[in-house]
Amino acid sequence: MNNFLVMPMVAPLLTGIILIFLRTNVMLQRILAMVSIVLTAGASVYILERIQLEGILRLDFGGWLPPYGILFVADSFSTLLVLTSSIVTGIVLLYSFASTARAEEKMFYYPFIFLLLAGVNGSFLTGDIFNLFVCFEVMLLSSYALITLGGRKVQLVESIKYISINVLSSWFFLLAIAYLYGAVGTLNMAHLSVRVAEVGQGPLLTVISLIFLIVFSLKAGLLLYFWLPGSYSSPPTAVAALFGALLTKVGIYAMFRVFTLIFYHEPGVTHTLIGVMAILTMIGGSIGALAFQDIRQIVSYNVIISVGFILIGLVVSTDSAFQGAVYYLIHDMISKALLFLLAGTMIYLTGKAKIEEMSGLIRNYPIVGWLFFITMLAIAGIPPLSGFIGKVLIGQGAIEAKAYVLLGVGFLSSIFVLYSLLRIFLNSFWGETIISEDEERPLKKGMAIPVVLLGILTVLLGFGPELLAPYVSDAANTLANPEVYIEAVMNGKE
């Protein structure tokens, strides 16, 4: 019964459609949303366990055997990301119960979140490159709607840029697919890998791979991140957290898939270029994170730095680097959601967005303060929190591959991350409090609980990496040995 594989995409999709009809009944929407997200996460746990027992799973839609039909392929890498994105979406949903305005909740807020999740999970699971494009578009169209929801002036103006950029990148995606189909005559990713290996990755195929690189860099914010800070800082907190946690990660996932499975023959060209882009991304992100006063901008630039850091794992391509990248991806989804939620909570509590205008918040809101401190340490990679294990493994991989420049820039960027967040911490949480006792806004329980939950997750991930270790090493194994994936798709049992 491999049909189960479709659950992480179909459950959110159906929920999204059902919730459209329950527009006016917000309470019912919330309950259904939580039930569905628990089911989705549960389904991904089940799939993850089955992969451990049976190897990579595959679902051929309509019984068309590969390479002819569209198919879903679940390996540990994709399923771990599906699980993490479902959990993060669930917690962000909890937060939005407290933070989103009633009017927006009635304007299809929950349906759009579920359609977004369906697109994200679909992109992780698909084994067909055109299907990847379609899932990208499902995800992007819901993100367009979410970014404009509320219709404030700044949202509208930023979303025009965001949408134009994404339309262009979708165009490049189609261009790359068209040329790839013209060159090798297939769209199934495993079959593509076989065909590319047969004909050899000549200059033409390398150029096509570079077009893919442009597309995924635009989605992931690798070097081509100019659109990101503006559009991630304009929507409401919960939406921004979801974007920061999920959207760029899908681009990173696609990059890992394509450059470990299909275009791995010319690392001198493609991987070197990714390395240069990763270095420039980390430098640019660090400059941005230090340059701005607006919390949301600083947090958005932190997303960019981590994109550069994760891609070091792809550039060095050793087994431990892949493991590190998987750990770091999971950590990054959780901690970036947490960071965005904390920043949003701070703005909600003070009504200000600039760090100079806040002061002494820790006196009034100790939970927020200490959670921010923990998040800061986790993102900077201080043990025993969640960022540490990923950073160590990526660093180990970089040493094995003798990529010392990447290693240096990567770890230097961690210091800038620490400094930029420390700046927020010192300015906003320490010092004389600006809020007098009568003016103090109570911290809503609905905001505190999800943030604490995410905080617990980062700590758990840091203390118990052994829990995830079998899955992560399986994921890294598939990434390092594309034959495993090809074998499972082309010859594996139905």
Partner: protein
């Protein structure tokens, strides 16, 4: 035939890029629409243009047309249709809200 269509794609892309670089929002949206048409033609061309039968298993299996590019552009057309519709609504709403459809004046709006 392939050459002709490829040239047509080139012309369409040129027009689209010209429109995309203008300041007027409607022109940019029309540019994206033309751009997507260009890519649909390109996908069709990449599958090979030939006169063949319908792709049903029958007497002459060798002569049928590749159905895959047609399936692909069908999907891509629907998607670009939806995105263009969304962009048009967004442009209208932005014009209502800001009173301008000039992308230069919309730069760096800050209402907070």
């Amino acid at each position: 035939m392939e050459t002709l269509i490829t040239l047509l794609v080139g012309v369409l892309v040129t027009i689209a890029v010209y429109l995309l670089l203008s300041k007027n929002m409607i022109r940019v949206i029309l540019g994206t629409a033309i751009l997507s048409h260009a890519i649909h033609l390109l996908i069709l061309t990449m599958g090979g243009l030939k006169k063949g039968g319908v792709p049903l298993i029958g007497d002459e299996p060798a002569s049928y047309t590749d159905a895959l590019p047609q399936a692909l552009i069908l999907t891509a057309i629907v998607i670009s249709f939806a995105v263009t519709a969304f962009l048009l609504v967004l442009a209208y709403r932005t014009y209502k809200e800001t009173g301008s459809d000039n992308l230069d004046t919309l730069r760096g709006v800050n209402d907070e």
